[in-house]
């Protein structure tokens, strides 16, 4: 009988190497979950979302600490320093009346972010207040709210915003009110749709049999289960409102021109001479708007992936 020999060593494959790495990490005690919630870890593993969060934080912090970062008043006119290109003294240069553009971008960020985030939160509050309750209770109240939101949502948003601007007039508060009024529909529908499915859960039936009041069940016990998609929606509508504010102010119909906002700084770029020869007036601020909106969109996408278990990858 022929004696058969087996090779004691076989060729190592890529999978072996991977397995070794994993067992090495296990021995070192690194393989265990870092703690914290699953959604939070999933968010941190999303590279684009983390990059978005970093850009977002940097822009928000520079806007908050604007007085520490720049010695210039964003509204101080200096006729001896008109349309200067970027220099050590004026990092982003100066505009047509000699105002320092770096300082205007920082202070403008305060207003633009306030308008974007503020309107998104206000719209979410209105949408949730209506959607959560009517979605749970149903009946004629639900039908009425649905019809009203349909009417609001059948207007193209910019058209409705401009229509209201022409009636109410231009001011910071008006703009936020208008954004709230035109933006609540989306979040209302989402909150309502979530409520319709949560309503069927057994714990809701249990709460009802305990005799809890309807608002208590709806707002305290059902709303928390819908918070994931709501957060995503707030993030994405913040991005949309910042874009809209920029567009409206660019047209000269948003925030009054005396208040610096990102859109108002871009307003002068409608002049073709400024566009062609003074790039520093519009390019940096346009880049900042785009970066900020991009980062908010990345965060929104990351949040959606992290909070929605049905969405993998």
């Amino acid at each position: 009988m022929a004696h058969q020999t087996y090779p004691t060593t076989r060729k190592r494959t890529r999978l072996d190497a991977q397995f070794d790495r994993i067992s090495a990490r296990e021995e070192a005690g690194e393989a265990r979950s870092k703690g914290g919630s699953r959604a939070f870890n999933k968010f941190l593993n999303n590279r684009l979302a983390v990059i978005g969060l970093i850009i977002f934080s940097v822009i928000v912090l520079t806007a908050i600490f604007a007085p520490l970062l720049t010695p210039y008043d964003p509204n101080r006119i200096d006729l001896r320093a008109m349309l200067q290109p970027p220099s050590w003294e004026h990092w982003f240069g100066t505009d047509r009346t000699g105002r320092d553009l770096f300082s205007r971008v920082l202070y403008g960020g305060r207003i633009s972010i306030l308008v974007g985030l503020g309107s998104a939160v206000l719209a979410a509050i209105v949408g949730i207040l209506i959607g959560v309750y009517t979605g749970y209770v149903g009946g004629w109240l639900d039908a009425l709210a649905m019809r009203v939101s349909e009417i609001f949502m059948s207007f193209p948003q910019i058209i409705l915003v401009l229509l209201l601007v022409s009636i109410l007039g231009q001011s910071l508060v008006n703009l936020m009110l208008i954004f709230t009024l035109t933006g609540w529909g989306g979040i209302y529908r989402m909150a309502r749709a979530r409520m319709l499915s949560i309503r069927e859960e057994e714990y809701v039936l249990a709460l009802r049999s305990f005799g809890l009041s309807r608002p208590l069940i709806a707002y305290k016990h059902m709303l928390p289960n819908a918070l994931g998609p709501i957060m995503v929606n707030i993030t994405l509508s913040t991005a949309a409102f910042i874009l809209q504010e920029a567009g409206l102010s660019f047209l000269g119909l948003g925030v009054p021109l005396s208040i610096p906002t990102w859109g108002n700084i871009l307003n002068v770029a409608q002049d073709l001479r400024v566009l062609q020869s003074n790039w520093w007036v519009w390019l940096p601020v346009g880049t900042v708007i785009s970066l900020f909106v991009l980062s908010v969109n990345f965060i929104g996408d990351g949040l959606r992936d992290a909070t929605d278990p049905s969405q993998q990858g």
Binding site: I151, P156, I158, L163, S166, Q276
Partner: protein, 320 residues
Amino acid sequence: MLTYIIRRVLILIPMAFAICFLVYLGLELTPGDAVSHMINPDALGSMNADQLEALRQSLGLGQPFYVRFWAWFTNLIQGNFGYSMNGGVPIGSIIATRLPATLELAAVALVFSTVLGCLLGVVSALSRGSRTDNVLTVIGMLGVSIPEFFFGLVAILVFALNLGWFPVGGRSMPGYMTLWDRLPHLVLPSLVLSIMLTAGVMRYARSSMLDALSRDFIKTARSKGIPEWRVNLLHGFRVALTPVVVLIGFRLPVLIGGSVIIEQVFQWPGIGNEFISAVRSQDYPVVMTIALLSVMAVLLASLIVDILTAVIDPRVRLGE
């Protein structure tokens, strides 16, 4: 099928009516004399106070609100929109002169963005997880994050001012008659308008295609030995198409909104441009009429989308 269409139309009519009512309410609440947008201003200027009062009575301005609303509404249905407060031009003729420009821009942008968006979305879905997919995803994100007017400014600077390939703005020049002459004017605005739309379509087409490819009938098709490209295009894409058709309808509000700003950037003489100048000069009748027409366009588009979806997907029309 017919009952489905009739049911959709019946839902739509009360809504259109409610919107007309709200717009009229807005028109009544805004400052300004109602006579000024119902009567040709030339005729109005040559009247004395007594004649004006008689005119008010004959127009029914002393009548209750609902009677006035009904008069306005019946006029509206007959295509009589009233007069602009600036210059007294009939609003109907303003719209008639401005609408073709907007439609031209919108049609080019819609076709371009649909074709390109579907193409990129399908490519992205077929190469899921690869570098191509990641790059396309980030580009799509950039497309929806950069303000469209900023795209417009950069396009004007690069292609019009520096390279001189295309005109800076406007729709045509004196002596330009045919579409071919005007084509250079159309390129930049329609491309810029397409960018945002393309990004949206791409993201939607990608997820819709991925959804279709994960279905069982795709496995069946593969197991039958059908070539991969046939599986992807004939079996996958056809099913993925339904949501994309829906998206074309949902894009109409975005298209209208986008064209308002783009028309301003490129000085394109369309409805959006007229709307902005009416908002600036607080010409309420024009603002209200254009807003009303845009809502009607959106409602009509949603109706057409519903019908198209029902044609493509029998479950929709039989399900309800």
